[in-house]
Amino acid sequence: MSKTLFDKVWDSHVVQSIQNGPDVLFIDRHLVHEVTSPVAFLGLKNRGIQVLYPERTFATADHNTPTINQHLPVKDELSANQLKALEENSKAHNIPYWGLGHEKNGIVHVIGPENGITVPGATIVCGDSHTSTHGAFGAIAFGIGTSEVEMVLSTQCIMQPKPKSMRININGELNKAVTPKDVALFIISKLTTSGATGYFVEYAGDVFRNMSMEGRMTVCNLSIEMGARGGMIAPDEKTMEYIKGREFAPKGADWDKAMDYWNTLYTDHKAEFDKELHFNASDIEPMITYGTNPGMGMGIQNDIPTAEAVEGGAATYKKSLAYMEFNEGDPMIGKPIDFVFLGSCTNGRIEDFRAFASIIKGRRKADNVTAWLVPGSHRVEEAIKEEGILDILHSAGFELREPGCSACLAMNDDKIPAGKYAVSTSNRNFEGRQGPGARTLLASPLVAAAAAVTGKVTDPRELLELQDA
């Protein structure tokens, strides 16, 4: 029988199918962080059981951590408490813990791939919805709640009904200054934030084939923002190339065996999807969001749509624009901004910093802008230094912070103040996501860089053209 990529991976992990109920799905690798795990560990304690497979479990500190002075004790008492709890729980259960300052520390979805934990054909879960990132490698990866974290710690399984399948095809060539982030924001603007609910998405076509592994991670990362359980891309040579030699990747004879398996991971020619969508690469422009969910995005040169022009409730739409203090019909270009955030598991990898640097090089940070540039991991931080990007940042008046989730969810001190506008490379522009009252414009690292040097929403193509001229 013809199978999709998703079917192949899912079916091979089913321990048991319950009639009129969920499948019991075996989880190959489980990533743990400080915020969604303490209550799960408490559950194990109450049941008097140990983590079943600590060798399949990896713990890092990222959500709650400061991004300056990480060598000093964490000041926020509650945050410090969660970090301590994770350290102790990891120790008690023999789980490797990569806490603050550890060379492998970083955002959970950045360090998974970096260390070869993320491999094709694996099932990967974490108590964070952007676990979908790992789908870039042809893995089934998705976010889970704390009860499920407890399930995986104690039994290495979760119970879920098999989702429906959707394939999103984009063919053709991308326009200038259109990055993977723009591709994802474009798709979400077409599907809305609930358009893929109940589905697991496969991305296919020229655009994804030609995309770097980091770009694929950005796209898969944002799958959850259209409601999908996750997204994945069939592994190819680029995937193998990326993984080879990384610490937790298979080695020697195991590598050859793994390659044999990975080479079977594609959607069969005749396999059918519950839903199939097609878009043209040439229709995608650099994107920006103007509202309070990631589906409220548009080409940066467009005007904010009127309530009549959008699907869904006009009242909800107007409430959203009122929060942003934007008007229907306003252009986004030229809107003054206060903050720029480059980072998160969406756009906190080295290619994102390269893109940012390509625009700010030889320019100066605008005086009205506060910029938080936060690498996704220590490895990314190292690469920024080694490649000379740090010097470019410094000469343009920027500083680099230390790795962590930072202003993506503003659990630490990196909060955008109420009423301020931030151009952010992260993944959510919900009310208050980046701090109570904060207003978020989601965009690519190029758009963020253009805003950082001009102090307002700016089309990055203008700046790139000046450079080319």
Binding site: H13, V15, Q16, N20, G21, P22, V24, F26, D28, R29, V35, T36, P38, V39, L42, G43, Y53, D76, L78, S79, N81, Q82, G127, D128, S129, G143, I144, G145, S147, E148, M151, S154, T155, Q156, C157, M159, P163, T193, S194, T197, G198, G227, R229, F248, N293, G312, G313, A315, T316, L409, A410, M411, A418, R428, F430, E431, G432, R433, P436, G437
Partner: protein
């Protein structure tokens, strides 16, 4: 974590006719710092309920004493966003046992089912009827019958069936959780793991 069994719930309901209510609204990230599951109900819809100086926002529905009950009725695409189970905990700890909407985000729905909150998905038309009934009479009662899988507006007798898989239904009726089930098939899991390389 054990929760109360769910069978038939008859209660007035709190209306929240807003679409795309995301989990950052249900519980903002800054309240996720606990290491125990305590006190989340106090911060349910924190930034909609309270001003930054902790005074209450009079016009938010949870601050309006006319409305009360164990059922929360939300607009379309309820619970989108983050996977934080804290959102479901906040709903439960505040005292809701059932959330009604015309559409739920996946992870939130799952999280609810795992902790004993019943997500009831109804048609957009039926959702409208519920909102209208509550508007006409804030004390209007809804009857959520899990064994029969029906939801009824008491005053008008209007009823709709809702879907839930048999397994989850059984769990809710018995107050069981998935871990109890999984621990029972641990041998099978271990055999499976032995054949599944890292």
């Amino acid at each position: 974590m054990a929760y109360d069994k769910f069978n038939i719930l008859t209660s007035s309901a709190v209306p929240l006719p807003i679409e795309n209510v995301d989990t950052d609204q249900i519980i903002p990230a800054r309240f996720l710092k606990a290491t125990e599951r305590k006190g989340f109900g106090d911060n349910l819809f924190r930034d909609w309920r309270y001003n930054s100086d902790d005074t209450t926002k009079e016009n938010f529905v949870l601050n309006n004493p006319i409305y009360s009950g164990k059922i929360l009725v939300g607009g379309k695409n309820f619970g989108s966003g983050s996977s934080r189970e804290h959102a479901a905990w906040a709903v439960y700890d505040y005292g809701f046992r059932c959330v009604v909407s015309s559409f739920f985000a996946d992870i939130f729905r799952n999280n609810c089912l795992n902790i004993g909150v019943l997500p009831v998905q109804v048609s957009p038309e039926f959702l409208d009827k519920i909102f209208k009934a509550i508007e006409a009479n804030p004390k209007s009662e809804l009857v959520v019958n899990l064994p029969e899988q029906t939801i009824t507006i008491s005053e008008t007798g209007e009823q709709e069936r809702f879907a839930i898989n048999d397994y989850k239904k059984g769990n809710l009726q018995n107050g069981f959780d998935d871990i109890d089930y999984l621990l029972n098939i641990k041998k099978d899991i271990e055999t499976f793991a032995a054949n599944t390389p890292l």
